[in-house]
């Protein structure tokens, strides 16, 4: 059965595509994995069938509009938080485009993610609420859950612009067994000169690996792995392993390097993929040429794993029990 390997190859080596490529299958897979904009930039300038070229040009325009909207949302957050004088670090897609990084080329960007010092959280929350952001879920149970267990405020949405913001104070949930060094992330952040900052290149890659392998069920994982490929291609991997070890994320970073090498040919030579890597690859590529999610069992394994990572066993049991009762 077709999976997303064709897409991974097209991203890694656009020249390898032949004119008899199953273009609609490739485009549909890329859309479903939120990588169409990225693919469109990778194939820009290559000889392509006219209809393909037109469709990809549309995708680049759409990505450019998305980039502008993401940067504007960051700017509005900057204006709201400027009076506080605390560090505001952009994360994920918005950071990539704000830094002009190759990982940001054509990338789809959803919510605005920012990292702030934990002791500034209350002030940040108040300033955002005063500037037109509202709680998405005015629900005390969820609220208490977030505040107690998560690495971020409950999601806020701006009442005029309809855009969400996730305010983090570290990069993994507090329930996770791994505790990254959040103060070090802030200390080494690199100012953009306008009051906003980016994580250091190493921390950016470590965060991407943490997000991919230590949090969540690998949904959208191919895009996250592409981010890592681009970040390492641009900044190299000097000191990366040591930094990952410092945050307790050495295993995740090493796995990211092995998989990214395997799928995209990321430069640093690393040890060969092991048997567990094969399971991750099966999950990362679990998408067919109609955009359908495939390999339900593999997906289920990673779904259960995502809860295992986030919750202590007793809490996990309670959570799965509730989910099961809901059907």
């Amino acid at each position: 059965m077709a999976d997303a390997l064709t897409l991974a190859r097209a991203l890694a080596d656009p020249q390898s595509l032949t004119l008899d490529t199953d273009w609609i299958g490739l485009i549909t897979t890329a859309r479903a994995e939120q990588l169409l904009g990225t693919l469109a930039y990778r194939l820009d300038g290559l000889p392509l069938p006219e209809d393909v070229a037109l469709l990809l040009a549309d995708a680049r325009t759409a990505a450019e509009n998305g980039r502008r909207a993401a940067l504007w949302e960051a700017e509005m957050a900057r204006r709201a938080l400027a009076p506080l004088g605390c560090a505001v670090v952009l994360l994920k897609g918005t950071a990539f485009v704000a830094g002009g990084l190759s990982a940001g080329r054509g990338r789809s960007i959803g919510d605005l993610d920012i990292l702030v010092p934990r002791d500034a959280l209350d002030a940040v929350e108040a300033a955002l609420l005063a500037a037109g952001w509202e709680w998405v879920k005015p629900d005390p149970y969820d609220d208490a859950y977030y505040r107690r267990w998560m690495h971020e405020l409950p999601p806020l949405i701006h009442r005029e612009r309809d855009r969400m913001i996730d305010v983090h104070h570290t990069i993994l949930p507090l329930t996770a067994r791994i505790r990254p060094d959040a103060p070090a992330l802030l200390v080494d952040a690199q100012p953009l000169g306008n009051g906003l900052s980016l994580l250091s290149p190493d921390d950016m890659a470590v965060h991407a690996a943490a997000h991919l392998f230590a949090d969540g069920d690998l949904a959208g994982g191919l895009r996250n792995l592409w981010d890592i490929h681009c970040l390492i291609g641009e900044h190299g991997d000097d000191g990366l392993a040591a930094r990952a070890r410092h945050h307790g994320l050495a295993r995740e970073m090493a796995r990211a390097l092995r998989l990214s090498r395997r799928l995209f040919g990321t430069p640093p030579p690393v040890e060969a993929p092991g048997w567990s890597d094969r399971l991750y690859l099966r999950r990362l590529l679990a998408r067919d040429d109609w955009g359908r999610p495939i390999r339900p069992l593999t997906r289920l394994v990673f779904y259960i794993r995502s809860h295992w990572l986030r919750m202590p066993p007793a809490m996990l049991a309670r959570h799965l029990w509730t989910k099961w009762r809901r059907g």
Binding site: N65, R68, A69, W72, E75, M76, R79, E160, R161
Partner: protein, 88 residues
């Protein structure tokens, strides 16, 4: 506090009868402005001004029917919420 508006090239404008449609390039947001908002943006595009200087500048260019400081401040607040004006 001084107020800053985007430079002229950041805005696309189209007059539509009594209103001005404005496309704000940095945000991609379209605004429909009624007077005196377009005039305020035009004056502030030259340089950031505080409230009194802005009022004086507007009085230079227009016959102000109500040189009302509070009304001008209210208009500026609206423009700030829309992201068209920021504190300089």
């Amino acid at each position: 506090m001084r107020y800053r508006a985007p430079p002229a090239e950041a805005l696309l404008t189209a007059g539509l009868d009594a209103f001005t449609a404005v496309f704000h390039r940095p945000s991609g947001i379209t605004h429909l402005l009624a007077s005196p908002a377009p005039e305020i943006l035009t004056v502030l595009a030259d340089e950031p001004l505080d409230l009194d200087a802005l009022l004086a500048r507007l009085a230079d260019r227009f016959d102000l029917a109500d040189a009302d400081r509070a009304a001008l401040a209210a208009r500026l607040d609206e423009l700030m919420v829309a992201g068209l004006v920021e504190a300089a």
